[in-house]
């Protein structure tokens, strides 16, 4: 998809003013995060599992070439094919060629963020191949021509009424002319419409949550069963996965599955976890005749061995965005690309460049909730700080901010000056009146006080002055 990450500030302003979005986000704050907390509390081993999950991914990354080759060997051994795509363009070409090799007119797609990353749908449509998104959330936003706003709940920004309007608009021509008001009716209608699409599709394309090197299996975790229909009914199954999805063994998968569902939705287990290993076997009554795995790099290998490598541990559960106060205020679209929230603020500058995405790592208060819930313990605030430093080095920071920081650093490095100026500021603020304990307006702080009050300094002088008095 086309990035609008450079417009982050405007996007965020628009998001704050969108009442439907704010309604939807209000539900998010109490939904996923509370369910995750309960699921984590039900499993005493949860923290130990997170440690092991982190170690497994670190081990896989340190030996990534070995495990990818092992995975390839196993897939080839059962009659499947592995394709290597260094860039998004390579992946698009490989997938288009595969689709054309079976004369595909439509493909049933199960939710794949990597396919969003490489803008696959636009490419296929231009070639006359119709991709049909089958995850309910992805299907809704495909009808609305919108990008996903969350990596596991792509339509989380929409209300039920918006979905009802969209279905009426697009399903009326199929004979569904009644505007629905109940969620279960909306789900049933989408099920009915999509069932025929599964049956008609020539190719099924899925992502993968993990690639298991030991057995050459791709592992898919869903709740709807759409990925399973996608990999069972069409004559060709294509798996699109990025290089860091490979893990060593089934035992490792067991650990990662235990933290994935609980972190994502607070479920003990997702409804469907599926291991696919190659095409239909002799005697099988169903399954695809052709099985292909497309492995995408798209800049990831260059992150290995750097201080940013930790971002490659991500298992795409979405917990960081579910717990982020910034994501909770503006939703996913404001981030402007495929991966929103804290992980997006770390991945997007890597994949698209600091110039495009320099605002994203700044959209954080560094409150640390994302790191505290990450199932593979990615130090997200630390990685965002890294990007802020790169942004500053490259002089991408706005002039006013740079000058402000330069002034502050000049003062902060001169303790006597710092003390006298902060003392002066403290007394000045007192002059504006501290009786209320807060200011509704304050000179030079209009940007702050437009949306909230500025807290007044409490009596007793500056921190330095109080420290001097109280120190034993």
């Amino acid at each position: 998809m086309q990035s609008t990450a450079h417009d982050f500030k405007d996007n965020a302003h628009a998001a704050l003013a969108d009442p439907n979005l704010q309604d939807s986000l209000a539900k998010l704050k109490v939904g996923f995060s509370e369910r995750r907390r309960q699921a984590a509390e039900r499993l005493p081993e949860f923290e130990a599992l997170r440690d092991r999950a982190r170690d497994i991914k670190d081990h896989a990354l340190a030996n990534l070439d070995f495990y990818l080759e092992e995975f390839e060997r196993k897939v080839t051994g059962v009659g499947g094919h592995v394709h290597w795509a260094p860039t998004a363009e390579d992946a698009r070409r490989i997938i288009a060629d595969l689709c054309r090799s079976v004369g595909a007119r439509t493909i049933a797609k199960s939710k794949s963020m990597v396919s969003e990353e490489i803008a696959l749908n636009d490419h296929l449509e231009a070639l006359g191949i119709a991709p049909i998104e089958t995850d309910l959330g992805e299907y809704i936003i495909q009808l609305r021509h919108e990008p996903p706003s969350h990596i596991i709940a792509p339509a989380v920004h929409l209300t039920k009424d918006q979905v009802a309007d969209t279905f009426l608009e697009h399903h009326a021509k199929l004979g569904f002319t009644r505007r629905l008001t109940e969620r279960n009716d909306l789900v049933a209608e989408a099920r009915h419409v999509l069932r025929q699409k599964f049956i008609d599709a020539d190719v099924g394309l899925t992502g993968a949550n993990f690639l298991v090197a030991e057995t050459g299996s791709s592992m898919l975790v869903t709740n709807e069963g759409n990925a399973d229909l996608s990999n069972t009914l069409p004559k060709m199954h294509i798996v699109l996965a990025s290089i860091e999805k490979v893990i060593p063994t089934l035992e490792d998968a067991a650990v990662l599955l235990r933290v994935l569902a609980r972190s994502a939705t607070g479920q003990e287990s997702s409804a469907y976890t599926t291991l696919n290993t190659g095409p239909k076997r002799p005697g099988d009554l169903d399954g695809p005749e052709h099985y292909h795995v497309v492995i995408l790099d798209n800049g990831r290998s260059s992150v290995l061995g750097t201080e940013m490598q930790d971002m490659l541990r991500c298992i795409r559960c979405g917990a960081c965005m579910n717990h982020c106060p910034v994501y909770g205020a503006i939703g996913g679209h404001a981030y402007g690309w495929v991966y929103p929230g804290p992980i997006g603020a770390v991945l997007t500058p890597q994949l698209l460049g600091v110039e495009e995405a320099s605002n994203l790592p700044n959209a954080s208060t560094f409150c640390g909730r994302c790191e505290s819930v990450c199932p593979v313990r990615i130090p997200l605030p630390g990685l965002m700080r890294h990007w802020r430093e790169r942004e500053f080095e490259r002089h991408l920071t706005p002039r006013a901010v740079r000058q402000g920081l330069a002034l502050w650093s000049f003062i902060a490095r001169r303790p006597r000056l710092y003390k006298s100026l902060t003392g002066l500021a403290n007394r000045m603020l007192a002059l504006f009146g501290r009786a209320d304990g807060r200011y509704a307006t304050l000179p030079l702080a209009g940007g702050w006080t437009r949306f909230r009050d500025f807290p007044a300094p409490q009596p007793g002088g500056t921190f330095h002055a109080q420290w001097k008095r109280r120190r034993p």
Partner: protein
Amino acid sequence: MSDAPDQANRATILNGIRRSLHRGELSGAQRQVVEARLAEPPRGPMVARANLPQPDKVALFCQWAEANNATVARVAATDVASEVASYLARNNLPAEAAMAPGPALDGFDWASQKMLALRRGRGEGSDHVSITGAFAGIAETGTLVTASGPEHPVTLNLLPDTHIVVLREADIVGGYEDVWVRLRARYGKDRMPRTVNTITGPSRTGDIEQTIELGAHGPRRMHIVVVRE
């Protein structure tokens, strides 16, 4: 389909990884360590809640399956067929079903249910009900495991509105790790059937306002008949 550009792309990615990791292809002692880990996969932290005597494992399985919106009936082998017929009648479902072709389900007294019309084969879009066995049940989460093959077409797990699963008590294990052990024993180390489905309750979605609705694309109802031994 491994054409020349594929081979060049493969080298680009693998060499890129090795360059970033400041080493060549894994060799010597380093390689042995990784190969040993692959040959003898280490287990993660043990989850205590499923580490139980077999009868308690069965009870835990049933408890979690029901918590995940499946229904469970525990019956003797002689009563499996009548339980299936009765379930269909209780839920006003048609007395006809697509049934897995394999011998696993042959031992039950289907002939006793004169009204029940059974078709052995894969699942079709028009099927309302399917009946299958299961490779295993996972007590930790109430999860069913099925392995694809001529005896168990995957479509039976997915296409019908109602999926009835006959699971023997002896096939209920603690966690995923116990399933891997059984898969390796059945299919060989490193070998897998085309598809292993692990299924926890009926199909569901939370994609509209984060509220769970059952029956997104797969079965709306799952009924598990646990066979007492």
